[in-house]
């Protein structure tokens, strides 16, 4: 008897955890896209000379560059979606 109750309790806990995770994931979805945008802006600001943007003094870009692989990858990814900002926005807010 105890084993059955324990098993049911574990399942409820497990389902609850999944729901909780999904809810938490949904709650931060917009913040995550905002964070991604900020990281992209940071990348463009520091490494702007790569793409012809006004950039800080060259030595600041060069000093930070070895630590910014993630931002570089993000910048490259953003190039793909740069032409469809509205579509991206719709996707962030889960419209359509």
């Amino acid at each position: 008897m105890n084993t059955i109750i324990k098993s049911i309790r574990d399942r409820i806990i497990s389902i609850w955890k999944i729901f909780d995770e999904v809810a938490r994931g949904k709650a931060v979805g917009t913040i995550e896209s905002e964070l991604e945008e900020m990281e992209n802006i940071f990348g463009v600001l520091v490494l702007g000379s790569f793409i012809g943007m006004p950039a800080p003094p060259m030595q600041i870009s060069l000093d930070l560059m070895p630590l910014m692989e993630k931002e570089l990858i993000l910048m490259m990814e953003k190039v793909d979606t740069a032409n469809e900002p509205i579509a991206q926005l719709f996707s962030v807010f889960d419209i359509g």
């Binding site: 709650a27 931060v28 913040i31 905002e34 600001l45 060069l62 990858i73 490259m76």
Partner: protein
């Protein structure tokens, strides 16, 4: 403990920055101070003035006096090599960015010239802190001013990048809190680096602004062009909160007028190197010039002898 005083000689091209800085170095060395004269000017006139082949290793010219020349190209190459090596160590997808190609042209980027001089300056300050005086023969105005303004300009960018990075970290922390993810124990490496850069540039800015550590001598000639450019140099330095220590009137003839200089640079001490009929080339000629004009110079400089205890 850094006790060396940095003395910079700035001015329009051709006014005699190299000769004035060489004379000043010989004068101080003769007084018993430990002096290192550093040529930051790519024209490298110090080799010609002292008639010795100078390099990045100090060469003793006379008792208490050594000289070195900074090779800008070497510092740029070395710096880019370091950055490239760091990228190779930290990036996993290096080839995807085609960075090799980028690095082959980056050495021609504007801004690296003055940064090479800054790197050399920092190294010299650290390695020769036991000297009493580090005398810097500066490049002509444009590069010289970019050298002094580099810390202030870089700090403006650094402050903005720092604010944005902090915002990013706050957002990231918020997400990890909501998602119940374990927080990263290691702090953001980019933030650490930005803070490190901020300290580096702030130290440089403080050094340049501190009149005890840094003395800027403006060399000028009694002619309109040199005088006009000198005024612009002073204004540009004041904009970045750097004050002139003294003016050096070089090649002054007996009939030259001091009035304009006196009026414009009121309150700024002036030293006067009279026009020399003999070319000031070679240590012997510099010594001879100081023998004739040394007393006059001593009165104007009023530097007490070094404390040798």
């Amino acid at each position: 403990m850094n006790r060396a005083t940095n003395v910079f000689f700035m001015g329009k091209g051709g006014v005699g920055k190299s000769t004035s800085s060489a004379l000043f170095s010989v004068f101080l060395a003769q007084k018993g101070f430990q002096v290192l004269i550093v040529s930051l000017d790519p024209a490298h006139n110090q080799s010609d003035i002292f008639e010795r082949s100078l390099s990045d290793k100090p060469l003793q010219i006379a008792p208490n006096l050594s000289a070195i020349e900074i090779d800008q190209e070497f510092w740029i190459r070395q710096y880019l090599k370091d950055v490239h090596n760091q990228i190779n160590r930290t990036y996993s997808y290096l080839t995807a960015f085609n960075l090799e190609k980028y690095f082959s042209v980056i050495k021609y980027s504007p801004g690296l010239e003055e940064y090479a001089l800054i790197l050399a300056f920092e190294k010299i300050q650290k390695n020769f802190s036991r000297c009493d005086y580090l005398i810097f023969d500066m490049p002509p105005t444009a590069l010289g001013l970019r050298f002094f303004s580099l810390p202030s300009l870089s700090l403006i960018w650094i402050e903005h990048l720092l604010a944005l990075r902090k915002e990013i970290i706050e957002k990231r922390d918020l997400i990890t809190t909501i998602k119940l993810i374990k927080k990263e124990i290691e702090r953001d490496k980019v933030l650490n680096k930005i803070n490190e850069l901020r300290n580096q540039y702030q130290d440089l800015k403080d050094t340049f602004e501190d009149r005890k550590q840094t003395q800027i001598n403006l060399v000028l000639n009694p002619d309109k062009l040199s005088f006009a450019e000198s005024i612009r140099i002073v204004e540009a330095l004041q904009e970045i909160n750097i004050n002139l220590h003294r003016t050096v009137s070089n090649k002054m003839k007996l009939d030259s007028s001091f009035e304009d200089i006196d009026e414009t640079f009121t309150g700024i001490p002036m030293i006067n190197f009279p026009y020399s009929e003999t070319p000031l080339i070679g240590f012997h000629n510099l010594q001879e010039f100081l023998k004739t004009n040394g007393d006059h110079l001593e009165k104007q400089l009023s530097i007490s002898p070094p404390n040798l205890s």
